[in-house]
Symmetry: C2
């Protein structure tokens, strides 16, 4: 294992590059958000699944759905030689939550209910170059239905996603789920005679740039090519302008409502049966969403959504937050995508040889959390504990009794456990802990059977070196009988 570790007198106290720690509210806020999402998933009949972080490289395979990170590698290592002889397996940290689901769906196919609805939340690891805000361990939050061929499963995922975003705190009107369907495009490609092999791949790859280069850019790239912003010339796919037109018609068929969009799509697919089937699926999804009470203001058919269209095999969906935030330079911009997913068939096939229909969605945990913080819906609010200061270290048990009483009353409390000699340090500590209240009881107060209860929020900034006497003179401090401690703290906390 760690044979190569150099003997050094002092190891560096650092995370590996691209890894980070989460402190206090970082942890509790993410947990709170995921708990809210899990409630919704659970109510929809989804069961939690927690697979191990480590998989065999063989089982993990390599089918990253995430087009944002196509070159993502994995952290892998080879097991030591097996006692019985032979070389050890290659193991790796999971790079997403979909590959382990595929393994589970195959391994436990005789035991799991079918269809199997599961959600999974946890860290995944990517061995790629870290950058600002780009970490090699991050959270994913997925929900998938395995074994359901009907687009009812896709509609359900979209409705559930809308409910989850709202339950996490995103207001209706602040998000929109857009739905497209690979099958419609397949139909169009079929009628163009480019439905498989390299030409189909080229068209799919080109369409994936629609977000960036727009209608005219895609038209150029599908035909003769295009100069990009840097001045470099990108070769075209070589279609004739007439051949490119159905693809453009597909991408731009979004109307003012689902009915109009579906009509535009029907026109775009022409006589293609496969295309008609794809449009029919979208029509069904639209009808089901309406039946579930999900209006077009929350989830809408939108063929301009192309992310993942090359990977997925049926409906694809993407949730975007529609409100504006200020970027680091103070410019307004749309918050953008926080979740995406779709239907894919290859999931279990690698293991069993049988195609198993599956559909699912992944929420970008860090992005959604950032959105909630940007909207002021999370962060900064949590109060620290009441700090019981130590005036007389011989009477530590008395201070601990006070803290225990406060806790028994449901109030977060702690005794100062550092060196009590310098009282100023205790106040600095209380400040660092965001303590709302400090409790003080010196020998004098103990003899008189009273405690000082200091309202730190009201008292605000107290000079770190203030003496006990100066401090007592502050108006935000009240002397109360010892037995009124809880009542007084409750009064201050409100």
């Amino acid at each position: 294992m760690a044979k190569d570790q150099k003997k050094q007198p002092r190891p560096k106290a650092e995370t590996p590059k691209g890894f980070r720690d989460y402190f206090g509210a970082d942890v509790t806020e993410r947990k709170q958000m995921l708990d809210r999402i899990a409630e919704i998933y659970h109510r929809h009949g989804f069961e939690p699944l927690e697979t191990s972080a480590v998989e065999t490289v063989e089982a993990l395979g390599k089918f990253l759905p995430d087009v944002d990170r196509p070159n993502a590698g994995v952290f892998a290592w080879q097991e030591a030689e097996v006692p019985g002889g032979g070389t050890g397996d290659w193991l790796a940290l999971r790079y997403d939550l979909t590959a382990p689901l595929a393994r589970v769906a195959a391994q436990f196919r005789n035991d799991l209910p079918s269809p199997y609805r599961r959600y999974a939340m946890g860290p995944v690891w990517r061995n790629e170059k870290p950058g600002p805000g780009r970490f090699r361990q991050f959270y994913q939050c997925d929900a998938d239905t395995v074994g359901a061929a009907s687009v009812a499963a896709d509609a359900e995922i979209c409705a559930m996603l809308a409910a989850a975003l709202e339950h996490a705190g995103i207001a209706r009107g602040d998000y929109l789920i857009r739905i497209n369907n690979r099958k419609v495009l397949n139909g169009i490609l079929e009628s163009m005679g480019v439905d498989h092999g390299k030409p189909a791949d080229d068209v799919l790859r080109t369409i994936d740039k629609f977000d960036k280069v727009g209608e005219q850019g895609v038209r150029q790239l599908l035909t003769t090519g295009r100069k990009d912003d840097s001045g470099a010339f990108i070769d075209g796919v070589g279609l004739s302008p007439e051949q490119a037109e159905p693809v453009i018609a597909f991408l731009t068929s979004k109307g003012t409502d689902n009915t109009q969009t579906l009509a535009n799509l029907r026109a775009a697919v022409g006589t293609s049966e496969a295309g008609a089937e794809g449009v029919e699926e979208l029509a069904q999804i639209a009808a089901m969403l309406a039946a579930m009470g999900v209006g077009e203001d929350r989830a809408v058919i939108d063929p301009s959504i192309v992310r993942g269209l090359g990977y997925y095999t049926g409906p694809v969906f993407e949730a975007e937050l529609t409100f504006e935030i200020l970027d680091e330079k103070g410019r307004k911009r749309q918050f953008g995508s926080v979740a995406g997913g779709g239907r894919y068939d290859g999931l279990v096939e690698r293991f069993t040889g049988q195609k198993v229909p599956a559909t699912g969605v992944s929420i970008g945990v860090d992005r959604l959390l950032a959105a909630l913080r940007a909207k002021g819906l999370m962060g900064g609010a949590e109060q620290g504990p009441v700090v019981v200061t130590v005036m007389d270290r011989e009477r530590m048990a008395d201070y601990q009794a006070m803290a225990a009483e406060l806790r028994a009353a449901g109030i977060r409390a702690e005794v100062y456990l550092g060196n009590p000699k310098n009282f100023g340090n205790q106040l600095k500590y209380a400040d660092k802990r965001d303590a709302p209240v400090a409790i003080i009881q010196g020998t004098d107060e103990a003899q008189r059977g009273v405690v000082q209860v200091k309202d730190l929020i009201l008292g605000a900034k107290i000079a770190a070196e203030a003496s006990h006497d100066e401090w007592k003179a502050q108006p935000a401090q009240t002397e109360v009988p010892r037995q009124d401690l809880i009542a007084e703290v409750r009064r201050i906390l409100g």
Copy 2:
């Protein structure tokens, strides 16, 4: 990375050896237990910390506190060559939550409050031979105070542990926290002239067997040696019987209450100053626990607790569950230890050269969960979702509307999404899902504006191949107007 991966047509759908998956209640029950524990830790002023799973081998070091697994290895790999030249770091998965805390305490020593109270819950990885019930990834749940020299920190940890166990569901009287102190033993060894080097190590190693071999066994092992159960002779440490006696006196000094135990310990340490200091620490802890309302029925001084005494530098504690359970052979046995901890100084020193006092506790997550299940406090109770069956696949939107209505009423519900052709399969599915209720609406019922609501708990086992008509004849099935669906389901769920 995965260069050695063999090209195989069908990868095996298996977890790596020693790893496992957690399904449904496995996940939610553990989460529920940890949430309860976290509530208590939070109320005591502890902050959550979530470090990355991956550390540099350099930072991780090698100081496993866990005497149960002294040969535990780590999963490690070397980073690819750094772009700027030079070899990459060795990285490894954390093997516990203490080593990362040491790194964090050193890395962020200028930013963290001091003392720093933190809790951490999450998986750790050990590269060791898996066995029955012995996994290479498992959960730990730790709470530590870094930077507090006073034994008030130890007393607080013990009181908090008692509160956490009770809040998780272990009744008062069903657990006992036992507290010992390495310093008392140090004083005794000092007065014997064996307080450092190999003799001290030998004595510590011998004492660690007290649990197993008892008073007479330790006496033999400290002096001339002992034949073990297998007949093998274990060499003795070579002390004279007189030298061994103070150690035995220490180990057996537990009296009927703390007062008596402390008196016995004072006698055992004789004139040793270090020993007297250790006894005084235990006396303080006893007084503080009493002040916090933690009686001796919950936490008690007990010098026979020796686990970890060789690793820790001050107080050590161990929580045992005192109720009996039946083992796999139906024999009664004590449940045993579920948590342990103590004070240790070397934590941050590796990084900074400065001794930083620290104390903490680790709860055995899997063991505590097993205990709660053994007591019937968890497991098996969770009800599945209401299943809306599909009689007419053209009316999927209607069924989805029913499920959406149920969910809006706070009722867990799902539509059957498999192939609806065979109704028996739908009932099998509902059974597998532990569904309490199934909803049925065929064309006939739809036309009449009614639904069938089937009480599956009351109806119990229905033949999987029963026809729709036979099924309707069962008494546990009620026909209600469509608009009464929610009310009827509510009535059945009670």
